[in-house]
Symmetry: C2
Subunit: 315 residues, 2 copies
């Protein structure tokens, strides 16, 4: 059955890929690697015995090991797929085992802090090319992954100054092979772009769900019952992995606080429009925000289906 | 083909239903009325010739007329499905034409302001029972409606003190017949519950999309490209009908400003956690918000499918 992911590669891009961490992202990479023949061999490492068992039951990799060092041994691409706060230590553990010419990469949602944590460990004979596939769901663990997660999504590479162009090109081919579009940008610009498109939305969603839970005049049961009015979409975002998101906010602090400052300024203006009964300004803002939505649908980052296809049946 | 909506009623609940306004909600009521046989006859009124043409092409009603007065004439249930700001005038227009014993209702998202605007016009021989079906999508117009919109959603009735219990029971049966669960509460409590579950989420979504559009260091093209990280869900909400939402904020000002004040207090605390690098408090909040999500899924107000079924294909 055609799945829209295209035929497998005739020749694998890498001999052996090591995935350090086999959760949502790591397991999705494993699935698309196998589906597209991106590597001759896949080795996965995870520190959790439960996760290793789940990954083994799903046959996600040829070998599943407990330590980053074992997985990195003999691999020509090593991708760190652990939470941002654990990446520095993972890099330190794999570094002595990297093959000459091997590429070390990651999938972290912040880039400046990761480069600072990883780069000092990378041996001269290996190439470090940081990457961030902008894709995910609110679920976690090896069972949550799927092969088409990166399909038509963007993967941002943020190579440090002086990075090897061949390694950048090779990693670009890998992510294109996985179905993604590739963009290259400076790490600090990445962190600002993601602060507004991802980190701030998550922060706001966590906050509003917390506010609703604490309102003493409205019961939690009422919040749940009447969530179809808009609130439930925030709860989906606010159900994302707590460790991953704690690490993102701790490691992209400056850009998050900067965009949050802008958000607050705008919110104060909006609050004043409501207080003053300024219908014209409200209407103008609500009309303007529709244009961005149209752009997202036109560029295939979302469907126009109403309410995310939640219709249970149709006339 | 079974559509989950159950068999039609053997005996219609109303002889003639008048729908004043035939947009997303009005046209969905028309569809479910026909599908379930809730009324012998449906008459729809809309002031827009274009909307009337669309509704006629979809055969949404037996008769489609231009004025509320014509539609109300001879109807035993009249539902005002126009934006909140237009409801008072619509009530004034239908009032002299209401049959003795007819029920006048509405579908507005705020209730205290609507009761204030409608109640003075209602003749003594008719019953006014305000209602709010908590269901909708970001789309508008007669083509956007569908019969299952209210299925397993809540419809809140907010009868004023002294309202006729028989009329309340009859309107409850109507909404249950349309597939909804019915809850009865005080109008001012409704306005507070909806402020947190619907109005504040929309306000925040409109605000963050506006903030993103105005950030001069990040281009609009970048915001659109990398929206899969969380932002796109906000753009869906912020694409909702501008007139409807302007009217909601103007007419539920006090409750919106109150919940917004709470949201702001919580956001300042969250901002401080990030500034101070307080990982433990961030983790605790992000863990706590997951419980609300679980409640929503358990109560059937959302599916657990990740990312709202946006997967294009699976392995």
């Amino acid at each position: 059955m055609p799945d829209g992911l295209g035929p497998p590669f005739a020749e694998p891009l890498f001999n052996r890929i090591a995935l350090i961490g086999i959760g949502l992202i790591g397991s999705s990479i494993a699935r698309i690697c196998r589906r597209k023949g991106l590597a001759r061999e896949i080795v996965a490492a995870d520190s959790s015995a439960k996760v290793r068992e789940e990954a083994a039951a799903l046959a996600l990799a040829g070998r599943i090991v407990a330590t980053p060092a074992e997985a990195a041994e003999g691999s020509d691409l090593v991708i760190l797929c652990v939470p941002v706060g654990a990446i520095g230590r993972a890099a330190q553990e794999v570094a002595p085992h990297l093959l000459p010419g091997a590429i070390l990469s990651d999938v972290g949602s912040v880039k400046t802090a990761i480069i600072k944590a990883v780069a000092p460990h990378v041996p001269a004979a290996a190439d470090f090319v940081p990457a961030h596939p902008v894709a995910g769901t609110e679920q976690s663990g090896p069972c949550a992954g799927f092969a088409s997660l990166f399909h038509n999504r963007w993967c941002i590479l943020t190579p440090p100054a002086g990075a090897n162009p061949k390694a950048i090109a090779r990693l670009s081919s890998f992510w294109k092979g996985a179905g993604a579009n590739v963009e290259i940008m400076d790490a600090s610009h990445h962190d600002l772009v993601l602060a507004i498109t991802s980190h701030l939305p998550h922060l706001i969603a966590y906050n509003i769900v917390g506010t609703a839970a604490d309102l003493e005049q409205v019961t939690q049961s009422e919040v749940i019952k009447f969530s179809a009015g808009g609130f439930r979409d925030f709860t989906r975002i606010a159900a994302s992995d707590p460790v991953m998101w704690r690490d993102i906010f701790l490691n992209n602090r400056d850009a998050v606080l900067e965009t949050l400052g802008r958000f607050n300024e705008d919110l104060i203006a909006l609050q004043r429009m409501i207080r003053n009964g300024d219908g014209k300004s409200l209407f103008d803002l609500f009309t303007r925000t529709r244009a961005i939505r149209r752009g997202i649908i036109e560029q295939g980052q979302e469907t126009a289906a109403p309410d995310f296809g939640r219709r249970t049946s149709e006339e």
